[in-house]
């Protein structure tokens, strides 16, 4: 595995996901119990609320070589903590600007709402992001 060509052929997108415990982590659980199959590229980090997700976590993950980042939480209005997800939504706008400013494709990040009953929606979100990231190619690795 030394040449770039081999690397690219074997490359599989790596996606870090931050899921809130109450909606999206549970939604991912439901996807599992319903045996909904989706790409195995995502690694979930459980947080209490999307409001806990510091934009720095997202940038750190990209900086360290993640090809994509997913932040997933309760639908606006359904937050277990009343409004943590709205705070995340507000931060997300700034985060997107920063990401674009750094010349990173916005296709690599995704903020999505998925409730505890939306296993399919969660799986679809992962699928869509994985496909987009796959199209965008490896991040930060091609020039190293």
């Amino acid at each position: 595995m030394t040449t770039a060509a081999v690397e690219l052929k074997d490359w599989e997108p790596v996606i870090v996901a931050f899921c809130c415990n109450w909606c999206s982590y549970a939604g991912a659980d439901l996807a599992g119990t319903s045996r909904i199959q989706y790409p195995p590229n995502v690694r979930i980090i459980r947080v209490n609320c999307t409001g806990r997700v510091d934009p720095d976590f997202v940038l750190d993950a990209l900086d360290q070589g993640a090809d994509g980042v997913l932040v997933s939480g309760c639908h606006p209005g359904d937050c277990h903590y009343t409004s943590g997800n709205l705070k995340m939504r507000a931060r997300w706008a700034l985060l997107e600007t920063a990401i674009e400013g750094a010349g990173i494709s916005p296709d690599r990040v995704r903020l999505q709402w998925a409730s505890a009953s939306e296993g399919q929606r969660f799986a679809d979100g992962v699928k869509e992001l994985t496909e987009k990231v796959r199209k965008a190619g490896p991040f930060r690795r091609k020039w190293t």
């Binding site: 439901l30 119990t33 319903s34 045996r35």
Partner: protein
């Protein structure tokens, strides 16, 4: 505590602080936990060597396909460890007298021949036992020794010697380093004072051989649903490999026959067993899930699909759309075996098309209804509680007081009152605990 000390303690319980729960299935376990969590003492009597009931035998549960053992096992531990619950397994209630606030309950402690306070569940005795007999827990498909636990999560984790099959060779006695085996142990009876009683005796599976036309017992590749559960269970006799009994091959085509011993007036089971449609669909889905490349066709033969509970209809839809399970409306007339292939031909009229079908399957699973257990009548008469026409305990005001029998201080939950699925049994267990706790808190006053 030694057995003698335990019996002495039990005979001295304070009736206003103690409830009896008869039956250690999921409903009785829940009733026990909810009483014990309030601070009351609970004596939980279970006739088999382990609590867990029928749920412990199931592989997956509908409608989420959660694995049964995974969700039940922690409950087993919780019951076994609760400081307020006294677990009497391998025991039976033989007599009840008195009234609310002050019942006297006779419990027979069947001789387990293994000392509960000494056995560590290590299983060193097992390999020394020369006797092999079919394991009831695996529906007779696997084997156990005369010294045994039915399943690995047996709770309490204490071995039992089955007196009927034991040849008293004493090999196990020598093998046990803890000297936990006592072949001279005798049955003992203890009278326990309690203030309230919860009946949670569960159900018995309908004996599908009562329909000779469906071939059970005659053809090897006709099995019942509980046997199927054990077949696909990782801890079961085939380590979870779905295969048919005649030749060990993975069946490419499976037929599930619904309503066997349910909604049938002539076989004295006029009522709906409430669980078979859903467990049938679940088992059909599991066949596809376990062997997606090998199992090509799964067909369910039904009368009505009764997907009534939370998430059930959605699961039924998923079985059709995602898993491609075929559903044919028709009560199976008869089955026949192809003597060469040992395949089973199902003969049925598709009532939706009027067609007469002859479908060949490599395995046929009969989905039995459920019956009140035989001992329920005995317990009911000891308690003075009425039994309804179907043989379950009678409840006078089901809408307002769904777990109250006509005898004050006696409550019913789970399938003792009528067929129920797991969540309904659990809810009823909690409800019976609530009602029993009121009796106890009021000292039996009604």
């Amino acid at each position: 505590m030694t057995e003698a000390e335990k019996l002495a303690t039990l005979s001295q319980m304070s009736p206003t602080q103690t409830a009896l729960v008869i039956g250690g299935g999921v409903s009785g376990m829940q009733a026990s936990l909810d009483l014990a969590d309030q601070g009351f003492n609970v004596v939980l009597v279970e006739k088999t060597p382990s609590i867990g009931g029928a749920m412990a035998m199931l592989d997956k549960t509908f409608p989420t396909l959660d694995c049964s053992a995974c969700i039940l096992t922690p409950k087993l531990s919780e019951v076994a460890r609760h400081p307020n619950i006294e677990l009497l397994t391998y025991s039976e209630v033989t007599g009840i007298s008195g009234q609310a606030g002050n019942f006297k309950v006779k419990v027979l402690r069947k001789a387990r021949k293994v000392l509960e306070d000494k056995c560590s569940g290590c299983g060193d005795c097992v390999e020394h036992c020369p006797i092999e007999i079919p394991n009831e827990f695996d529906q007779g498909l696997g084997f156990r020794r005369a010294v045994y636990v039915g399943f690995p999560q047996n709770t309490p984790l204490v071995y039992t010697i089955d007196d009927e099959n034991c040849i008293k060779c004493e090999m196990c006695v020598k093998a046990c380093e803890r000297e936990a085996i006592d072949l001279a142990m005798k049955d003992e009876e203890v009278e326990i004072p309690v203030g309230a009683i919860v009946v949670a005796t569960g159900f018995e599976l309908f004996d599908v051989s009562k329909y000779p036309r469906l071939g059970y017992g005659e053809y090897k590749n006709v099995i019942n649903a509980l046997e199927y559960e054990r077949l696909i269970n990782a801890a079961g006799p085939t380590a979870g490999h779905l295969l048919r009994m005649s030749d060990g091959k993975i069946p490419k085509s499976i037929g599930f026959v619904q309503c066997v011993g349910a909604r049938d007036v002539t076989n004295q089971v006029p009522y709906c067993a409430r669980v078979c449609c859903m467990y049938g669909i679940k088992n059909a889905v599991m066949a596809k899930e376990l062997q997606p490349d090998n199992v090509k066709n799964v067909t369910v033969y039904y009368a009505d699909i009764r997907a009534y509970g939370k998430g059930f209809e959605e699961f039924y839809n998923m079985a059709q759309t995602r898993f491609g399970i075929e559903f044919i409306r028709g009560r199976v007339g008869e089955v026949a075996e192809n003597p060469k292939t040992r395949n089973i031909e199902i003969r049925v009229e598709n009532t939706e098309t009027g067609e007469y079908l002859q479908h060949e399957h490599e395995l046929v699973v009969l989905c039995p209804g459920i019956l009140p257990p035989k001992e329920l009548r005995v317990i009911a008469s000891e308690l003075g509680v009425d039994v309804d026409s179907d043989g379950y305990l009678f409840v006078e005001h089901p809408a307002s007081n769904p777990v109250d029998t006509k005898v004050p201080g006696v409550f019913v939950c789970g399938c003792a009152e009528g067929p129920k699925d797991i969540p309904d049994s659990v809810a009823a267990g909690s409800a019976a605990a609530m009602r029993a706790s009121i009796t106890l808190a009021k000292g039996g006053e009604v």
